[in-house]
């Protein structure tokens, strides 16, 4: 066949350089952000900026070179975090951040692999990967930003939407209960489980720094406002009102039983570091059990 196409417009390096020159470097954290990627796409009042900042602050505090940090994300508003960070970042398919990160973490134990994604991505379409990643104890840090709805697609109900909450697909209220994420992560085998809200950035930074020292699958849930998708239909007010709600309704109980951490609509939010235990991660078992036996056998020795 004959083919007719429009002309291809190649990448304009000069224009890209100009954009970076004009806008990059004004913010104190710009050295951690990919040049030319800001402004971000998030709505006013969104909690994602706080979570992004706390992640950067945790890296700074731990003094980890960015070349040793990798962020993998799925799809959704939280999935966009990867694209803003100036490091190796992978924005994968919906729900698949954990298995992608599994391949990366197992081949590159020298890197700190963080999965940054949302509640819908990690616990609905990606729920199976989440529980198996935790069971295997892959050396990954998962930061789950929970805003109780699918924000990017316009505020639909998700796996964390509480009973009776209104969203664009539950206009009369939600008939399903939401997951208790820390309880699920703990039951699946995560070695570190914490929950904070965006009202607790200092505690959140502390938790993220702790996960950098943990070998294995860590899980930090961050409750974040979504005034556009979730706040409005549930009459929670703007981003600031949601922060007030977190302030008034959060109860910090480190070491609490995660089974008590269920969240109801407008109910209290149990926060804290719930679980911090040690068990061998996948690679430790694989190296000590599997590789040692396989290579011992080759030398004609008993494993």
């Amino acid at each position: 066949m004959k083919r007719h196409f429009r002309d291809i417009v190649p990448f304009d390096q000069d224009s890209a350089d100009r954009t970076i020159e004009e806008g990059h470097g004004l913010h104190p954290l710009d050295e951690y952000l990919k040049p030319g990627r800001i402004p971000h796409i998030w709505c006013p009042g969104c909690g994602l900026g706080v979570v992004l900042t706390t992640y950067i602050e945790a890296i700074r505090r731990k003094n980890i070179p960015v070349d040793q940090c990798v962020v993998v994300s799925g799809i959704g508003c939280s999935g966009r975090v990867a694209g803003y960070l100036d490091m190796d970042t992978y924005h994968t398919t919906h729900g698949r951040a954990i298995p992608f990160a599994t391949g990366l973490a197992l081949t590159r134990p020298d890197l700190h692999v963080t999965v940054f994604s949302g509640d819908g991505d990690l616990f609905a379409i990606g729920g199976n990967h989440m529980i198996h990643g935790a069971r295997r104890n892959i050396n990954l840090n998962v930061i789950c930003v929970n805003n109780f709805n699918y924000g990017m697609t316009g505020g639909q109900a998700g796996p964390t939407t509480p009973v009776d909450a209104r969203t664009s697909t539950t206009p009369m209220g939600n008939a399903e209960p939401g997951f208790n994420l820390p309880h699920l992560a703990h039951a699946s085998g995560a070695v570190y489980v914490a929950r904070w809200t965006t009202f607790h950035p200092r505690q959140l930074v502390h938790s993220i720094t702790e996960t950098f020292d943990k070998k294995g699958f860590t899980f930090v849930e961050v409750i974040a406002p979504c005034p556009t998708g979730y706040g409005r239909p549930n009459k929670l007010g703007g981003g600031l009102d949601e922060m007030r709600y977190y302030k008034e309704m959060s109860e910090i109980r480190n070491g609490a039983d995660p089974s008590q951490a269920e969240i109801r609509l407008k109910g209290k939010i149990l926060c804290g570091t719930f679980i911090n235990v040690e068990r061998p991660d996948f690679l430790e078992n694989y190296n000590n059990l599997v590789i040692a036996k396989a290579q011992g056998r080759n030398k004609g020795k008993a494993a």
Partner: protein, 382 residues
């Protein structure tokens, strides 16, 4: 452990084991998979062999995760592969698309069985040929090889790895149950006699590096995690830097690049086996297990003085359109035996453009053609 990397020597192994050995010889050190008949033996071989060479075998929770994991491993700088059959191949399509869009080298072995759906788990099929070409949504170029023997399972898995590194994309080894479970002699040459393509590294510093640039129709070298290039890798439409840009102009460049790096290089990728084509009046076009009986049929007919030839497709995609077009000018008919309702036959008919008849010999799966059946049909068009 160098002596275990490549098992140089003569072996009596099945096609699935040979695929695994081909992967190891090509340098594969990461395998993620999920059990499925008739491809399980590839995973089982890898589970035993990878730890011997210091590689990682992981059994994932499903084929979606397996495909995602090998992409992640590839960005970790390790050659990676998975194996599956039809139902698993369907599940992999999502992340095959991610691999195409993010230009991630890796190899997917599909040991085809009868479909659709659960179909014939233990019996042969060749009905995933079009799925390999078009299975994930959107446009991209496809490279697929089709082994016809355990020896080729070894050789073509290495070729698949080489092509995946050169063109920076997932490459398919479209085996089938008959070849996968067939045990034959496989000769594994010494390491130094193997042609293995190593991954190219960026030659420029991070300030000027464009990870998704096209140089002519070729992809840019790939910067892996931890190399300091700070690459953003996304399944969104992206510019040459990898930054998401949601415009028609960037979509035009992005998609044209991932289609055209294969289309413009088709002449370098395509491999066929031409048997007695010179004066052939009827040409049998076949691949995989079917090409073995087709060869028998052609040789038997040649011995009787019949002017019949065989075009065996070693690569299925890109399709060798120029070769078929040239043959169509002078042959009466193409006879296409395949274990499906006409998939490569569609390409043959389209390419022949009405200049020669295209005759499908379809089987829906569960058995292979007999040489006599093929001879009988070929005889009708001579």
């Amino acid at each position: 452990m160098a002596d275990k990397d490549v098992l140089t020597g003569e072996h009596f192994i099945h096609g699935d084991a040979a695929c695994a050995e081909g992967g190891l010889a090509a340098g594969c050190r990461f395998f993620a998979g999920y059990p499925i008949t008739p491809a399980t033996e590839v995973a089982e071989r890898m589970a035993r062999r990878l730890p011997e060479v210091g590689g990682i075998y992981i059994q994932m929770e499903d084929e979606i995760a397996s495909m995602a994991a090998i992409l992640g491993a590839s960005w970790g700088g390790v050659k990676s592969m998975t194996s599956t059959s039809g139902p698993g191949f369907s599940l992999m399509m999502e992340n095959i698309g991610l691999g195409m869009m993010t230009e991630t080298p890796c190899v997917v072995v599909n040991v085809q069985r009868g479909g659709p759906s659960t179909g014939l788990p233990t019996l042969v099929g060749q009905a995933d040929v079009m799925q390999a070409r078009w299975g994930s949504h959107g446009d991209y170029g496809c490279i697929a090889v089709s082994p016809a023997s355990p020896q080729e399972c070894f050789d073509l898995t290495i070729l698949a790895f080489n092509l995946s590194e050169m063109y920076r994309q997932p490459v398919f080894v479209m085996s089938d149950e008959t070849v996968g479970h067939m045990t034959e002699k496989v000769i594994i040459p010494p390491l130094q006699e193997l042609h293995v393509v190593q991954r190219a590294k960026p030659a420029v510093d991070s300030g000027r590096y464009l990870p998704f640039e096209s140089t002519g129709p070729m992809p840019a070298p790939m910067a892996i995690a931890g190399d300091g290039y700070h690459v953003h890798v996304t399944g969104l439409t992206h510019d040459e830097r990898g930054y998401p840009v949601i415009t028609d102009a960037v979509q035009e460049r992005n998609v044209r690049h991932i289609v055209e790096k294969v289309r413009m290089n088709a002449h370098n990728i395509i491999r066929v086996d031409e048997v007695a084509l010179d004066d052939a009046e009827v040409v049998v076009i076949a691949y995989g297990c079917t090409s073995r009986v087709a060869r028998q049929a052609v040789e038997d007919m040649r011995r009787k003085g019949r002017r019949v030839g065989l075009l065996r497709l070693v690569t299925l995609w890109p399709f060798p359109s120029n070769i078929v077009r040239r043959l169509a000018e002078r042959v009466k008919a193409f006879v296409v035996p395949e274990i499906n309702y006409g998939q490569i036959a569609l390409e043959v008919e389209r390419t022949a453009g009405g200049k020669a008849e295209t005759v499908l010999m379809g089987l829906m799966g569960g058995s292979i053609h007999s040489p006599e059946e093929i001879q009988e049909v070929v005889g009708q068009y001579l």
